[in-house]
């Protein structure tokens, strides 16, 4: 556990711009009931100061967090260069984490159950540094919120950070054309080569996940009030899946009644796939910013979120 040495002690997240590089490897994680999930574990060159678990969106894999057309802009590049380890898990139904032979995938609750067991075991067996946070994109954001509300992980988490996920759908995922018309937005927001390179990231959406996407409006109101760690939700300027006008966001905030802090951010010049665009590095740095604040709050108690220090 991180223990501050005194006023001169360093922050939990150490910036190491001269770091010789991260160690990234494919791993297999065991679940409570024998599930086996594939993942990418990216660790900084020296001991990780803290760890983020990253959960990808529907129709993508863990590579969403490891790929970017600009050098040093992927989430794992940005995080590990700041001393933070990242565990990018192929959610149940994806990668080698399919578990079921017919590829129906898993509904939200089943994914949360499996991942809670997997992450708990990972925490028990690994050195996660000063604390563990969750980062989820799109459907992975729903799973991240579900995990943050889950009692099994309650004592292990310091924060949950979500992008590309709100509480009011602007369009239905099962509308014809919706799956290919709303994920990117204006094409100028992405560096050359992004779409072709995404062929290594994009996969089919399991059927069970599609059904879960449609019922999120009913799931969210029961889930958000159970989140008891700092929450941040970021909407891309050109987000099309979710309603994110001021009245929507004010309503969204109201649900997190037990979260010690709730931040709603907007990432300018970004589309739904916020981690793959020109502004991805800026967004990824903001993830670390929020994580650092949450770690400080969790481990040192130097801030309380009502304003006094």
């Amino acid at each position: 556990m991180f223990v501050p040495a005194g006023p001169e002690s360093r922050s939990p997240i150490q910036s190491r711009p001269d770091s010789p590089g991260a160690y990234t490897r494919q791993v297999v994680l065991d679940g409570r009931d024998g599930e086996r999930l594939s993942a990418v574990l990216a660790e900084p060159a020296t001991r990780a100061s803290a760890t983020l678990v990253a959960l990808h969106g529907a129709g993508m894999t863990s590579r969403y967090f490891t790929e970017h057309q600009l050098a040093a802009a992927s989430f794992v590049d940005v995080a590990t260069s700041h001393g933070v380890a990242v565990l990018c898990i192929d959610r149940p139904g994806y990668g080698m984490s399919r578990c079921a032979t017919d590829n129906r995938g898993y509904a939200l609750g089943a994914q949360v159950d499996i991942l809670a067991g997997v992450i708990s075991r990972f925490v028990d067996r690994s050195d996660v540094g000063a604390g563990l946070g969750l980062l989820g994109h799109s459907f992975g954001g729903k799973v991240a919120l579900g995990l943050a509300a889950n009692e099994e992980l309650a004592g292990s988490l310091v924060s949950v950070d979500v992008s590309g996920c709100g509480h009011r759908l602007a369009r239905k995922p099962d509308d014809p054309g919706a799956l290919v018309g709303n994920n990117w937005g204006p094409l100028r927001l992405y560096p050359p080569g992004t779409f072709q390179a995404s062929k290594g990231v994009v996969v089919d959406v399991p059927r069970a996940e599609m059904a879960a996407a449609l019922s999120w409006a009913e799931t969210f109101p029961g889930l958000a009030p159970r989140v008891r760690v700092p929450v941040r939700m970021t909407f891309a300027e050109h987000e099309k899946w979710w309603c994110h006008r001021p009245n929507d966001l004010a309503d969204l905030r109201e649900y997190f009644v037990h979260a010690p802090r709730m931040i709603i951010d907007e990432q300018l010049s970004a589309g739904h796939n916020i981690g793959l665009g020109w502004t991805a590095r800026a967004y990824h740095l903001s993830v670390l910013d929020f994580f650092e604040e949450s770690l400080l709050w969790s481990t040192q108690g130097v801030m309380n979120f009502s304003g006094a220090v």
Binding site: R63, E67, A71, L187, R188, P192, G193, T194, S198
Partner: protein
């Protein structure tokens, strides 16, 4: 003097951009398949997005993913780009400013 942007997008332009961005090998004469579906010709939606993004940068038009969905054939693609070129000429006092590359490009994903 800045280089003038092209004002017409042709099927030859499309062939060149498909070769550069979507791996088109020139094995089909595109003039003869103007009304064929892109998917039938072996180009998936990501290949078309990459192609459209290249057209956007080269021709100074602004294209959205949702427009690409409606560009199902070569003819609709060419017509749509030319429609955007006309609108850009008429509506914008200046061309779209291309974003500056802020870091070295990766040649391919790792």
């Amino acid at each position: 003097m800045p280089t003038a942007m092209p004002t017409l997008f042709t099927i030859d332009d499309l062939e060149r951009v498909l070769s550069q961005g979507a791996g088109f090998d020139g094995s089909i004469d595109l003039h003869e398949v103007l009304d064929r579906n892109f998917e039938e010709l072996g180009f998936d939606s990501l290949a078309m997005l990459e192609t459209a993004a290249r057209v956007e940068r080269e021709f100074g038009v602004s294209l959205d993913e949702s427009q690409i969905v409606n560009m199902t054939t070569l003819r609709t693609f060419v017509d749509s780009v030319n429609g955007s070129l006309v609108r850009t000429e008429r509506e914008l006092p200046g061309r779209i400013v291309e974003l500056t590359l802020v870091g070295p490009m990766r040649s391919s994903p790792r």
